[in-house]
């Protein structure tokens, strides 16, 4: 503990500089105002959270909206797969000529089912992940900044 005390010695002349230094309180006060703003927004966000948790009418409506948005998204993309893949057996059945078409020497049904279906499924899955995460982000924004 003697070390710092010794260093105080040479520093003392500097302490002779006019006193106003501690008075630099204004910036601190400004910081406090910013903090107050954050905490007020937190209050509002907390109120929305409480509404969600306690299942008030507002909270329930919010959750219903999210569930509905996610379900609609999942159903829309299932419809894409239903038409894109589910239509194929029916198409091959009513239009046998489609099965005879060859691309690069391979019959079209083999290419569609054996090769193309997998990238198609992955693309639909990728789109779903993106869109579902966006729905969740919208919900999060709604909860955290209800004034918007």
């Amino acid at each position: 503990m003697t070390g710092p005390a010794k260093r105080d010695g040479p520093g003392r002349p500097a302490a002779a500089v006019p006193v106003p230094a501690p008075r630099a309180a204004e910036p601190i006060r400004r910081t406090r105002i910013v903090l107050a703003e954050v905490s007020r927004r937190d209050d509002r966000s907390a109120r929305t959270r409480a509404e969600l948790a306690e299942q008030t009418r507002v909270g329930e409506a919010l959750v219903r909206g999210l569930v509905r948005a996610q379900l609609a998204l999942a159903l829309r993309l299932s419809l894409v797969v239903l038409i894109g893949l589910g239509g194929l057996p029916w198409l091959f059945a009513i239009a046998p000529a489609v099965g005879r078409v060859t691309v690069l020497g391979v019959n079209l049904p083999w290419l569609l089912l054996g090769v193309a279906s997998f990238p198609f499924l992955i693309t639909v899955g990728w789109a779903y992940v993106r869109l579902a995460e966006r729905n969740e982000q919208d919900f999060t924004d709604l909860v955290q900044r209800p004034e918007r």
Partner: protein
């Protein structure tokens, strides 16, 4: 077959599986480690593990065999097996993870708060798990018999013992490493020989895959029949053959038409057409429904989702799994197609499931390359049996230890594992006439008619009640189980009754949904009081920290 590399390759896969298991054992310390790998597994590892667990004997051997036998119409198997993960992603992945449920019975209790429904779900998990385990063990027995000439019980028991010991000692943490390793092994074991096979096909001046006169023997072949069939010889003679009959064919002889397979070029090459018979179309749609919706109800698939840290990670993991599984399913088609050229005798013997294992030797000859590749494929097949059985066993044992024995301890889990592994091992030794892909397809149908409606309605519909769920599972799943038992044990059927029982999903799945919704609406008073809070928990992102 005198291939000296096959047995060492199988032994190596088994030893590596056990070795990684023990490496994991050193990390597994608590019950949580055992059951859910302490939730500290990255999405890539987890996705590879899910893929490794999912690609079973049916995928590795069965799909190629079916394509060899039936042609373009059975391409719906691989498409459906992959699309099942899309359905899982769209409707189940994230909410199921957020529910905090570890098994399907857990989900029943979290969502509907009913102990009795939980018990019912337990029964279905065990039934589906065993239905799926038996053909894995059988596939192992048949493969070892084909490539190494061992008696059938050896392969089945070997896999049963290794897997039971590994799961009992290492738990799921070990399994995650083992499964991830086995995904890559399976992919390599099909991809590398496929490249050589394609090159060989080029070098042979690209023989036609479906010549107008039907497939022909490339070399003089003696065929020993293993399944009863009716052959139509090229000169129009019809001949009944029985197991054990020997038939000699010279090089260039056409393959006789075999009853029950698509031997003729156009049947094999072109899809079913409408007009003559609608049963083919019904069976196709039934298969699509079973595979698309059945994946989410398989017990060993769902367990994995709990190892994701949150809902968003569960979604991303599922997407990676979809890509991994999709990449894998490009390969069996190549084996099925080239099998028409190089191993047409399998159409006559009826052992089409062996095409993947036999094709490298048949196409590339007895040289070093051919033998090494044959050993690689055999090793991959064993990885498929080991990994799927491990996953199934973990989930069945988990359910038995928590719901039947009622103990959450590590000892309880070990005891449950021995129980869960013993029963299918005994079954596999006694029932040897089942067709691998067919039984697996039936397991999908049962899952699609019981757990799929329960999960989808439970996650998305507030109106579901415990009575409605139980009624739907009992009626839909029960009908599917009845169809399974009738197919496996009952007398041979023909016409519509046969189609309706071998491919039941197209009527049992809508039945299950209808009953579940109708009974739930009739018992509206039993709606759980906390349904709103549960929906919030299932769907709200974790970042809100509600």
């Amino acid at each position: 077959m005198g291939n000296g590399f096959v047995v060492p390759a199988i032994v190596a896969v088994t030893l590596v599986t056990v070795g990684i298991g023990f490496y994991g054992l050193r990390l597994a310390r608590t019950t949580s480690d055992f059951l859910v790998a302490s939730r500290a597994i990255s999405p890539t590892w987890n996705a590879a593990a899910i893929g490794g667990e999912y690609l079973s004997a049916a995928s590795f051997l069965g799909v190629a065999g079916l394509i060899l036998k039936y042609g373009v119409d059975v391409l719906w198997y691989p498409v459906g097996f992959a699309a099942g993960y899309l359905a899982l992603l769209l409707f189940v992945a994230a909410p199921l993870r957020r529910s905090g449920a570890f098994t399907l019975p857990d989900f029943c209790e979290v969502r509907l708060g009913s102990r009795r429904l939980r018990k019912l779900a337990t029964v279905f998990v065990i039934f589906i798990g065993w239905l799926y385990l038996v053909p894995q063990l059988q596939g192992a027995g048949l493969t070892l018999a084909t490539v190494a000439g061992s008696p059938y019980p050896v392969g089945a028991l070997l896999v049963a013992v290794v897997v039971t010991a590994n799961v009992a000692l290492g738990g799921m943490r070990a399994i995650t490493f083992v499964q991830a390793f086995q995904y890559w092994l399976k992919l390599t074991a099909l991809a590398v020989p496929a490249i050589f096979l394609a090159l060989q096909w080029q070098a042979d001046a690209r023989p036609a895959v479906a010549p107008p006169d039907g497939p022909a023997f490339r070399t003089a072949t003696t065929v020993v029949v293993e399944h009863r069939a009716t052959l139509t010889l090229p000169d129009g003679d019809i001949r009944e053959v029985r197991p054990g009959d020997r038939l000699d064919f010279a090089a260039g002889d056409p393959v006789p038409e075999v009853s029950g397979t698509a031997t003729r070029a156009t049947d094999w090459l072109l899809p079913d057409t409408a007009g003559n018979d609608d049963r083919g179309l019904f069976a196709t749609y039934s298969l699509i429904l079973a595979t698309f919706l059945g994946t989410m109800g398989l017990p060993h698939v769902l367990v994995r989702f709990y190892t994701n840290p949150d809902g968003a990670a569960a979604r991303r993991t599922t997407l990676v799994v979809l890509a991994l599984v999709g990449a894998f399913y490009l390969l069996p088609t190549i084996y099925g197609v080239l099998g028409r050229i190089y191993t047409p005798q399998l159409l006559v013997t009826g052992q089409t499931d062996a095409v993947v294992v036999l094709l490298p030797g048949a196409a590339l000859g007895d040289g070093l390359t051919g033998r090494l590749l044959a050993a690689l494929v055999a090793a991959g097949a064993f990885a498929a049996f080991l990994s799927t059985s491990s996953g199934l066993l973990t989930s069945v044992a988990g359910v038995i230890s928590t719901d039947v024995l009622g103990r959450g301890s590590v000892r309880g889990f070990r005891l449950a594992t021995v129980l869960a592994g013993g029963v299918p091992a005994v079954l596999a030794l006694n029932v040897s006439g089942l067709d691998v892909s067919q039984v697996v397809g039936l397991a999908f149908a049962v899952a699609a008619s019981s757990f799929c409606p329960l999960l989808v309605l439970g996650i998305w519909w507030r109106g579901l009640t415990d009575l409605g769920a139980a009624a739907g599972v009992l009626v839909g799943g029960g009908a599917a189980i009845a169809a399974v038992l009738l197919t496996v044990l009952g007398p041979p059927l023909s016409g519509w009754p046969a189609t309706l029982t071998t491919q039941p999903a197209a009527w049992t799945v809508p039945l299950a949904f209808t009953v579940m919704v109708a009974v739930s609406m009739a018992t509206r008073r039993r709606l759980p009081a906390d349904v709103g809070a549960t929906m919030l928990r299932l769907h709200a992102p974790e970042t809100l920290r509600l």
